[in-house]
């Protein structure tokens, strides 16, 4: 199965990854090739099989709701690219 250029652009939009036209074409070739290797999976009979989301048998973990030390505000903001005082500066969401 070969992806179309439009499909690749649509996935890139969903993933929020910018791409040049050349990158889109290269991605189109490579993804199509990789997806071709997944076709064999359709041979597997999985009727009535439950999906496994996790290798461990995960149960909901509960804990007491207790007040405890948390990360310091300055520490939490120390890696912010654009900081103003105790705020994170972001670009306008609505224009």
């Amino acid at each position: 199965m070969r992806l179309s250029t439009e499909e690749v652009r649509h996935i890139a939009l969903l993933a929020r990854v910018g791409m040049t036209d050349d990158e889109v074409e290269l991605m189109r070739d490579q993804l199509s090739n990789i997806l071709g290797h997944f076709d064999s999976l359709q041979e597997m009979d999985t009727d009535g099989v439950d999906p496994t989301g996790h290798a461990a048998d995960v149960e909901t973990v509960m804990r007491e709701d207790r007040v405890a030390e948390s990360i310091d505000r300055d520490d939490a903001l120390s890696n912010v690219p654009r900081r103003e005082g105790d705020f994170v500066r972001v670009r306008a969401v609505l224009e």
Partner: protein
């Protein structure tokens, strides 16, 4: 006693010399730092060398040992893969996206090792965000295989594997999502253990594929791996998938032998495309297990051939969700010249991520997108159940399954970079253990043309003691582990 070569010690030997105060941690750490100065310009295993931190920790370790409070790893120089968070020390994932990221907290494994008194000499190179099998996807530089500097060390934990093989640390921690500890361990001729999913806390491991990721040790010898596992295994309430159990002393059963041990050899792990010399080495290694008294039998795991497709749907799907957090707002790289918020987001990710990371984000986004979810992601999750069942059934008949770790020995830099699928095929024998969540170890099982071959042993859920005992018995019956690459 005569003074030992401090660059050729195993962790077990170093631990004993430190405890007996025959060597100080400062002396040992300085010897390791000198070794790094000498060989790392060629090997390039490190992203960051933390010499000052290391010498400070070494002085504290010496004081602690002198006061009688030393533990097994106190004063021992180690490397951590650069996707494990270290407070105040850059943790880059070998990505432009996190080039300047300095964590404000320690990973649980970092905390445990620091409490133990281990000495951090630096952070190890990896394929960007642990995605790759050669360490060529590092955004900074590739790492070379100490056995042949024109060849790759494997990946994604190529830095840790190469550093252990080159004597640039006494042990390292890596992470393994589809083989990222075991495959580089095999290609560099060291021991690499991927524990049972949930045995080691993932808190502070920068996430790739959360249902598959697991942290584990890379070491010179099997005993060393057991000693490290003793420190890092155990429950952590900050990882909701952490198994609530009190781990045993993993060194205790070593040396008990493997008489009567039932070893299965799955035929699907000796497929077309495997290097015939690798196959011969691994079959010889299995014969050694038989000579030691194990009951070896051929078997079949027919679903194994689907593991690669399952893995390359599930892992990128989880990655596409995990890596959505890199938005240039809270931390990490942030594109500056953008017209709008959406434009900034797309540009940040275009410039911050390398080609393989983008490929996997795209693949995962596709597999999870409307119209394809059932055919890819849901199908892969159901197939995952069948792989798990197949292993469960096999471990009713066998204690251990033996196979090659990787279909080939170390390949040359650049050989597989143009074809993603060729690169993905490196991990076909290691991915099934991650899919099933079971433990697996790689030990050196021979040499082909001067390059190490890996013997992989897989065990049932929480079967680490048996795996380590088997690997140890093999190691002690052979002399592969005593060889050192000639780097001078």
């Amino acid at each position: 006693m005569s003074s030992p070569d401090l660059n050729a010690l195993t962790l077990r030997e170093a631990s004993s010399l430190l405890a007996g105060r025959d060597v100080s941690s400062v002396e040992l750490t300085q010897a390791v730092l000198d070794r790094i100065d000498r060989v790392d310009p060629n090997v390039k295993a490190f992203v960051t060398v933390t010499a000052d931190v290391a010498l400070e920790q070494a002085r504290k370790a010496d004081a602690r040992i002198a006061s009688g409070d030393g533990r097994a790893l106190t004063g021992v120089p180690m490397m951590l893969k650069d996707n494990l968070c270290t407070t105040g020390i850059a943790t880059t994932c070998s990505s432009r996206m996190l080039e300047d990221f300095v964590p404000t907290y320690d990973a649980e494994v970092t905390r445990r090792l620091c409490d133990e008194g281990a000495v951090l000499v630096g952070k190890g190179n990896l394929d960007e965000f642990a995605m790759g099998s050669s360490t060529e996807n590092s955004a900074f530089h590739p790492t070379m295989n100490p056995w042949d500097l024109e060849r790759v060390p494997g990946g994604s934990s190529g830095g840790p594997a190469a550093a252990v093989a080159a004597g640039e640390c006494l042990f390292a921690l890596g992470s393994d999502t589809g083989g990222s500890i075991r495959q580089p361990a095999a290609l560099c001729g060291v021991v690499g253990l991927k524990p049972t999913y949930g045995l080691v806390s993932r808190y502070g491991l920068i996430a790739f594929a959360s249902s598959l990721d697991q942290i584990g040790p890379l070491t010179r010898e099997v005993t060393d791996a057991a000693m490290v596992l003793n420190v890092i295994a155990g429950h952590d309430p900050r990882d909701s998938t952490s198994i609530d159990t009190e781990p045993p002393d993993y060194t205790r059963g070593l040396g008990a032998g493997i008489k009567g041990l039932r070893v299965g050899v799955p035929e699907e792990y000796f497929v077309e495309g495997i290097d015939p010399e690798v196959e011969r080495s691994v079959r010889d290694a299995v014969q050694v297990l038989a000579d030691l008294g194990a009951e070896v039998e051929e078997t079949s795991l027919p679903h194994s051939s689907y593991a690669m497709a399952i893995y390359y749907i599930i892992a990128p799907s989880e990655a596409s969700a995990n890596l959505a957090r890199y938005d240039g707002v809270k931390y990490g790289y942030s594109a500056t010249d953008a017209a709008s918020m959406w434009d900034a987001l797309a540009k940040t990710r275009q410039e911050g991520f390398g080609p393989e990371v983008k490929r996997r984000i795209m693949l995962g986004t596709y597999a999870l997108s409307a119209g394809y979810f059932d055919a890819y992601y849901l199908k892969a999750q159901k197939a995952r159940t069948l792989i798990r069942r197949e292993f469960e059934e096999a471990f009713q008949r066998f204690d251990v399954l033996a196979s090659p770790t990787s279909p080939s020995v170390a390949f040359k830099l650049g050989d597989k970079m143009d074809d993603p699928v060729q690169m993905y095929l490196n991990d076909i024998f290691t991915q099934p253990a991650n899919i099933a969540g079971i433990p697996a170890i790689s030990v050196q099982g021979g040499m082909v043309d001067g390059l190490p071959v890996g013997l992989q042993l897989m065990g049932p859920h929480m079967g680490e003691e048996t795996l380590l005992r088997t690997a140890h018995a093999y190691e002690q019956a052979t002399d592969w582990h005593t060889r050192f690459p000639d780097l001078y």
